[in-house]
Symmetry: D2
Subunit: 408 residues, 4 copies
């Protein structure tokens, strides 16, 4: 199984908190996985918690393409060739299409070398291409590439700086990707409340991504409370949240369940459709609020507090409301623009929108994900950010606790 006569090799360097962030291990693993070999030429360990570690590593593979593939995979781990070169740039040959060897981004901080200068990539997100525009380099989705755009290709002249776990942060050891339902949620709520206050104190914006379960589980009044206290700057949701919220406001039910009584199914379907009819007849949520059709609930509070809200359409929507963005490409673009200013993101019981949002975020924005289903939390926490906190709990009770903690 061991490679016998490996002949093609390259020397790469990496620096940073290589051990804490498990990068060193990941680098070695990747080499072995690829049936390649490594030799550590130089390694200095950070002698204290604050010092960086530095690695110089020779990697060898059986063929040039195998070596190329390996180098490509080491790049997101922070390895870059010792010899510096400018990035290779190829113009896009047609709208939405790029050369086959295009560089596909991760969500980690990235620099590209253009004419001898290292430029930081703007609007960092995963699964994008990097386009060079005069003095700037920016992430762009494939579909937004236009003929002639100067697209970064190959692997030279690209440096990725993985987000390090920072032991000095107050949330160190707390913000891990571990997920468990057998935890004391009240301890997590204390931390999240502190993070929210910190974010606001630093002038950051907080984005919530919320599913209709917020309403079903009785969390709406507590979420309204968060809006009133100024902790919600952006609300990213789908059609269903707004419809269920309106149904609750107009009829006291959520999908036909009376939330006070907890009793199942009271004229369910009709309330749902009537709520849509009432909002749409008014011309949408904002006009419905202005006209006094809708007088309470999450959406009313968003209108009053000038929270930026975006409802993205999906194949399972009823209606939809006229506010709902039916075109998902437009919805992605507008979500992306809103998130560009977010300093913290909290995802409440929505796998669909949560994954959508996760794809758009750079690795350094902290994300909290709350869901009663551990599979959802795990899926969202696995998206490569070192700053994700997954909490498996009841969303309604969680919001109750969070609202109480933030009123103190």
């Amino acid at each position: 199984m061991a490679p016998e006569a490996v002949t093609f090799s390259e020397v790469v360097e990496a620096e940073g908190h290589l051990i804490d962030s498990q990068l060193l291990k990941a680098i070695f693993d990747k080499v072995i996985e690829r049936s390649a070999a490594f030799e550590v030429q130089h390694f200095t360990i950070g002698r204290t918690n604050d010092e960086y570690s530095r690695l110089t590593l020779r990697v060898s593979a059986a063929t040039p393409p195998a070596l190329e593939a390996l180098l490509e995979e080491l790049m997101p781990l922070g390895c870059h060739p010792v010899a510096e070169q400018d990035a290779l740039i190829r113009p896009a040959d047609s709208d939405g299409c790029v050369a086959d060897d295009f560089y596909s981004t991760t969500n980690q901080r990235t620099h590209v070398r253009v004419e001898g200068r290292w430029l930081e990539v703007e609007r960092q997100r995963m699964d994008a291409v990097v386009v060079v525009e005069s003095d700037r380099v920016v992430c762009r989705k494939l579909r937004d590439v236009r003929t002639g755009d100067r697209v970064v290709c190959g692997l030279e002249g690209i440096r990725v700086t993985p987000e390090f776990r920072d032991r000095a942060r107050p949330d160190f050891g707390f913000m891990s990707n571990e997920v468990s339902s057998e935890r004391r949620v009240e301890a997590s709520v204390v931390r999240i409340a502190a993070m929210m206050r910190d974010t606001k104190a630093r002038g950051g914006r907080i984005a919530f991504v919320a599913g209709p379960v917020v309403v079903h589980t009785g969390g709406a009044p507590y979420f309204v409370d968060l809006i009133r206290r100024g902790y919600v700057d952006i609300l990213l949701a789908g059609n269903a949240l707004a419809v269920h919220d309106a149904e609750l406001a107009l009829f006291g039910t959520s999908l036909g369940v009376d939330l006070e009584a907890g009793a199942p199914v009271r004229g369910g379907h009709r309330h749902h459709m009537r709520a849509i009819n009432a909002i749409n007849r008014a011309g949408g949520i904002r006009p419905a609020v202005d006209a006094g059709v809708l007088t309470s609930g999450v959406m009313v509070e968003c209108v009053r507090a000038n929270v930026e809200y975006l409802l993205a359409g999906s194949i399972r929507d009823d209606g939809p409301l006229v506010d709902t963005i039916a075109d998902i490409v437009e919805a992605q673009n507008r979500y992306g623009d809103a998130l560009a200013t977010a300093g913290m993101v909290i995802i409440l019981s929505t796998m669909l929108h949560g994954i959508g949002v996760g794809n758009m975020l750079p690795a350094w924005v902290p994300v909290v994900c709350v869901d009663i289903n551990p599979a959802v939390v795990t899926k969202l926490a696995d998206r490569g950010s070192s700053q994700t906190l997954g909490i498996v709990t009841d969303v309604g009770l969680f919001l109750h606790q969070l609202a109480r903690r933030l009123e103190e």
Copy 2:
């Protein structure tokens, strides 16, 4: 708690397999839930398995609106006033909006009385309104209503015939809404294979609704087998299924996992994005197949076998492929048209598209739902159809078993 001096009452009738289908119980429960009272005026039980039961019931409530609300809820259970009247019809006052007392449909078979004649509602589905067009009555989504459309309102002149569980059917006792992971799946596969053969023998079309998990779990080759044997007439999916399928065809991986080796993460992200770039450069799936870019996999087989496939967009899509329908209103309309001809629907590991499809189906189309997550199966099975079969199992292994059974 008991109503003291109830004074407003109405007599309703119902007939059918009232006991087997639990309708009698549901009717009584609903009356009590509403704090109303009932008196059975007449009841004849079907003396054998084949005979219908017949009920005449007086229901009484404290106020006229309470009585009205109760009657509204009894209607989907098959109760209709003894005295026959024509349905109330009101013209829509503007596009997409109807009178507040509009009748919101269930997915059960429905008749409307127009000028003394009972007409069966066409394109039956839930959460629609009923529009009268000269000699026909049809379901229409709220958003498709145009000013002046003649919309059925109120409760008079409407009869709902709930789907009865038919003990004579070979699948009686099997097609229940029960969901369990602790069952022998091989027994279920035998039944489903028989249902599929029956459906084809009767000239029916089989629609599959499939998520990308079909590819991750190694089910693609078995699904291809089903297509080749003619058991897949319609494929309803999202962008992800096609992208993962193409990634597997082009690179042998699914989200970067080598499906042969089962080893995690080999150049994952890039394969995914490269597959999208390759298909889109070719101009879409069909051109990519024609050009020999894509030579194997589920989508290739669909193109070759002329399977009607529809990819609906969602907020979490990468790309998307040019084939993906970005506008969800259009996607819903095209899904709905395709399903209008389906005699059987099989949902494989996709809650999003599964719920979308469930909303579009009349109650009498049998649905099989397979997912490893019992919560998904329960959610899909709870949508009011008496003909849903939920199976909690591994989708890849399920398809393997099903393909083997259908080759016999």
Copy 3:
């Protein structure tokens, strides 16, 4: 498939709330499942909510054994032969063994006819045999049968009265077997608090069955609160609850997690084992409390408030504590004795003990089951009691809400 020349038949009767309790449907289903036939000879429906329904039914099967098997299955649904006979009694031939045609009990109220008199079975529970002792008939576990015990066999002279859903109860419509995680838990808490107050007001005892998750999720202080207010009469648990409770009391951790900080793993293992060593050295929980070794927590409160607590051993126990009952036959016997006096049972996050307890209860004791895993709740709710309420939520937060509600 239809039976052609059925010749063996019997006439049975049933009475009660046959429709509400779905018994009528279940009876008909059972006949069809068995490939037998039925003819309704007489049926009167309860004309109002308070009246019973009455059924006389002729059932026919192809062979005498098939008829016998069918009658056996109809019995738990409340059907009994029109002709009354004494029950057949056979002496047990050896310890722990009975005749092959022994009657195996359900958890429903049962009467047995002995020398012309109908006697109610005592200590009703499922999966027992019925032993006749002079003037009494009692449930006995197979293993407790002794040679010569007079055991009820066959089907004659046995009447089962299924628990009816009582629409007059305040909890009607609430105590269903439906399970959902997408519900407002606060509404359920209000009802459960009311049921607990009712139970105490009627002089009933409340039994809690609790897993260690109560401690992990931070529920212990709230549970202590319930004990202090007198809402816990019996605590049925395993070794783990007491060990985790002691670990928290002695070291402030639960399985090594600091519950205040929420931080993972701080000297975990050792705390766990040291807690066991400390309690066992003192001679057990009560001596440890007396000696001041253990001064806070759930177990301390139980000792102080004279709550009857029983810790049943299991294969995964650490230690175990000397209080833990290592012999599971003894543990079952003592659990059973304690439950004989329980008027309400609340199961908190323990499938193992929850199922054990469910097996021991008659159908008329209301059971509340709380777990964050819907599969556990479904499994416990499916055990045949019409009085089970399943709640899918976070146990720590649930106890917080419940304690607050009960202090009002």
Copy 4:
């Protein structure tokens, strides 16, 4: 937050695959978590995959107890003081009780220094104490300690060698603790079959830990196949597996479900209890096989193939069978003895017995855990072994695939 004037320090050493096994990171994390400080005095990295790394580290804490606590937690990570001393030994003061500073074991390979010699601990398992017996040191459960036993205390003279992930092993990269339901199970089956063949080729014994779901899901005939082919040396289960297996053999049902037809509930309860009565009357499983009462199924095959089987009792048992070990302390002891010879362990759908077994195993025995519930797999995979493989799939279909693969 940083400690200001730390004054108490100690120098520790560690060596091995410190990076691959994430030990270096874990060591640094632990120091920071404890609000202590570290300084790397010396670190040499393994220059190739085969070389060990070596670390010399000074750790400092604010107080002597804080330093002691930190050293205690670094020990399971392979750190040991530079200065060598004999272990501290204290005699147990009473049966089942030891000194408060006793050393509580992990499941990692451990050596203890006695009179200048390093002795390897025998019967390594977690949560035990170490007893010195003339020339040997052995793990002993607390409850088995007798007055006067010489128990290892404190931290001196103890060395833990964490199991290293071995990149040279064929299963490297495969045996990780990652858990996912969205994987191709067939690839995992190929690996597991290879591991089983390897284990047998090396003369190792394979232990299966199996729940009754093996029977419910139709896996019994495939499991029988594995027994016949010699792949099952030890079967660890509970009462339920044997009872369900016997019910299937005697009546063709599992908990009353006909496994051929897949139809629910056919005389369920009685079959279950009758099976117990039949086996117990015969005097147990082996006599029942000898007497021809039981002629097929998993237990019959175990008897015929001389598989060592142990049934551990639990609080939810029906019966139990006379074979079931009612005393859980005895059951743990006998499980432990059987596992002492196991070279590989496969856990099939039983959290209870799976956790029990996990507690008994040293870290170097590879464990495969199969369950349809990801929470169970995660829980079992989290128990600190680096050699656990979790597979989320349908157990019946998994056994089908495994049996097919092993017949090739």
